[in-house]
Amino acid sequence: MKNAVDEKYLISPFLIVPLMYVSMVGVGVLNFQRELAEHAGYNAYISVILVGISLHFIIWMIYKILSSNQAGLDITVINNACFGKIAGNIINLAIVLYFFFGAYIEYKAYIEVIRVWLFPAMKILPISVVLVSFIYYTVSGGFRTVTGLCFLGFLMTLIFIIPENLSLLPYLHPLNLMPLLNHSITDILLSSKSMLYQFLGFEALLLFYPFIKSPEKSQKWAHSMVFFVTLLYLMVLIVTFMYFSEGQLREISWPTLNMLKIIETPVFQRVEYLAISLWLLKNLSGICLSLWAACRGMKSVVLQIKPRMSLLAFLVGFLILECFLKDRSSFRWMAEFYSDVGLYFIYGYIPLMFIATQLRKTWNKG
């Protein structure tokens, strides 16, 4: 099988593990429990399982879509082939914007965590400039640099998520999860929607697929990562539900960080400050991956813009948005819009493309 990308830029199939992890575990893992419980109450863990199962199908479809093309090309080329030059490019541009806003929302959410927990009076512009230059450094280094950072982010967060949950054991009330089923299907589906928002980001696979050496070998890793991340979310969610009573969870905006407040170690009296700082690495790698995908997408849209130029444009866009989007309500609106678009992207666009590419394949054969 011939690859369109030069051999020296490729990554081995196993390295899809940190990439998938980083894109699926966002800053939302710090506070997704509350939104989930809003609709389905303490039955919300069912939503996590539902979304996890559905994502396995989506991943399977993504691999089918991408491998339908013999040359191992990414989604932008397939779009052009399926919908023609103009319509294809409009869709590509939409995908680029989607990844750009995904990166921005992740970035903004992290800034909010810093503001609430670490430095309430911090000026945003200086730290934004520092972070943006760091992102520039990583993304301009190419896909392999992004993968490297993702690997670090993957390790950094794993070392605290699992021990955190173990240290809470004496405070857990398993009875909180009872009764097992007292919410309607609609409530559970509504919670599933906000759960999907946490998973959003893994669609970057559509764009970095050609960068994987022998991509068909990576499929099992992608599936096992979806399984692992679902399990991780499920563990965090169930531990949260057993740790907080339902009324208490309603009052807390960052449950995962709040749980860290119970841990006391000899040197660090508060672990959450350490955790937030470590989270920076994970978060930056997620942002870098999304931005890289956006730049990669730009490459094939109309003008063949160089990734470096589009990256600069995106980062300036970050800073401009930072200056204009000051109030919380417009950011919330943006995040909600993004999650709606994500819902249609995952459950509408991808199955559609799946059908389209499969039909094309059979036609070409016949």
Binding site: F119, P170, Y171, N182, S245, E246, K261, R270
Partner: protein, 361 residues
């Protein structure tokens, strides 16, 4: 090119470490304990702060102010030369009247503010809480009260408590909050049982003995100890015969048999104890006497727990979380309806005491 890149990365990391928001320990006033009282002309807030002079030497000081807001830390801040820092608070005290009038706003504040640790200890005083701070100041140990409560949870009769547990009980439906109840005896602070709350108001207080029963009902009562009066056959003065026992392990099992219309719950307790002191006429080497003793202890605990539960029902407080148990078994449950039937709940208790060791005798 590479050198330039490495250089810029190092610079970026240096800038990221953000030395903008410094708090150096001898340029701030750490608050160690805070107390809330209701006085005739408003609400009184007092804090115990420390000044660090040199290594190993701390000077404690108490500041207080009266205002009409609940948390007057900003007002207290105007009385110190260095800024007050609330992240180190380890003890929150409620005075008698403020606990009876309601602690809800203070609790909500402690829930919302990310600076407070979840391990803060809360307690209720039998008088103005600021008097307890004065005594703590004399001990010259800023963490005296919180350490006292914590060691009593580990090696005494107090159940596991801290800010998180109290908030869990306060915000959770079908359970009520309880806090240690502190008194002053001969100029020293003493833990005299637990104060029981309904929502955010203190309703009643229970003795250390009942605290042990509560600990048995909600968790493993390891290390708690109790004096059990023994109606001895050979004794002339029954009131003076006591067994001092220490719990090594205990486990409570709850079975909710019916939910509607009035729930009935059967509680099965298993308690493994060590006898620390027995009257001289008890022969610990005799198997027969030991089994008899186990039976006597079991029936003693049964009646005591039944008495304790009826005390809870009489006061309409639910520190055990019986409401939560019923909630877990029913699809439709609401706190108001449950409150109405709480006093009529049927509870049956059975206790199985096992003597694992008879001490050094």
């Amino acid at each position: 090119m590479y050198r330039w890149k490495t250089f810029s990365v190092i610079i970026l990391f240096a800038v990221l470490s953000a030395c903008s928001d410094q708090r150096i320990v001898n340029q701030i006033c750490l608050v160690h304990a805070i107390s809330f009282d209701t006085v005739s002309n408003g609400k009184k807030t007092a804090v115990l702060i420390s000044h660090f002079k040199e290594q190993g030497k701390t000077e404690l000081q108490i500041l207080h102010t009266v205002s009409n807001s609940n948390i007057s830390l900003p007002r207290l801040n105007t009385m110190t030369n260095d800024p007050l820092e609330r992240g180190q608070i380890s003890m929150v005290l409620f005075g008698k009247t403020s606990a009876e009038k309601g602690t809800g706003t203070v609790l909500h504040h402690f829930l919302r503010d990310p600076k407070f640790s979840s391990r803060i200890q809360l307690a209720v005083a039998d008088r103005d809480a600021s008097e307890l701070l004065e005594i703590t100041k004399k001990t010259q140990e800023p963490f005296y009260l919180s350490d006292m409560i914590e060691q009593n949870m580990r090696s005494g009769n107090l159940p596991l408590m801290n800010l998180h547990v109290s908030l869990f009980n306060y915000y959770g439906e079908g359970r009520d909050m309880f806090l240690p109840y502190l008194r002053i005896e001969h100029g020293e602070v003493i833990i005299d049982g637990l104060a029981l709350f309904r929502r955010d108001r203190k309703i009643t207080e229970i003795s250390m003995k009942d605290a042990f029963l509560l600990k048995m009902l909600i968790q493993n009562s390891k290390n708690g100890s109790l004096m059990v009066p023994l109606a001895g056959k050979a004794s002339n003065k029954p009131s003076e015969d006591f067994i001092l026992l220490r719990s090594m392990h205990s486990k409570a099992n709850y079975i909710v048999s019916t939910v509607n219309p009035v729930p009935s719950i059967s509680i099965r307790l298993k308690l493994v104890t060590e006898l620390q002191n027995v009257p001289e006429w008890v022969d610990l080497r005799s198997e027969e006497q030991l089994t008899q003793l186990e039976k006597a202890l079991s029936s003693y605990f049964r009646t005591e727990i039944e008495k304790f539960l009826s005390l809870l029902k009489k006061n309409k407080v639910d520190p055990v979380g019986l409401g939560d148990l019923v909630r877990g078994r029913s699809r439709e449950w609401n706190a108001q309806d449950f409150e109405k039937i709480y006093q009529r709940i049927k509870t049956t208790v059975s206790v199985q005491v096992k003597i694992a060791s008879t001490g050094s005798a």
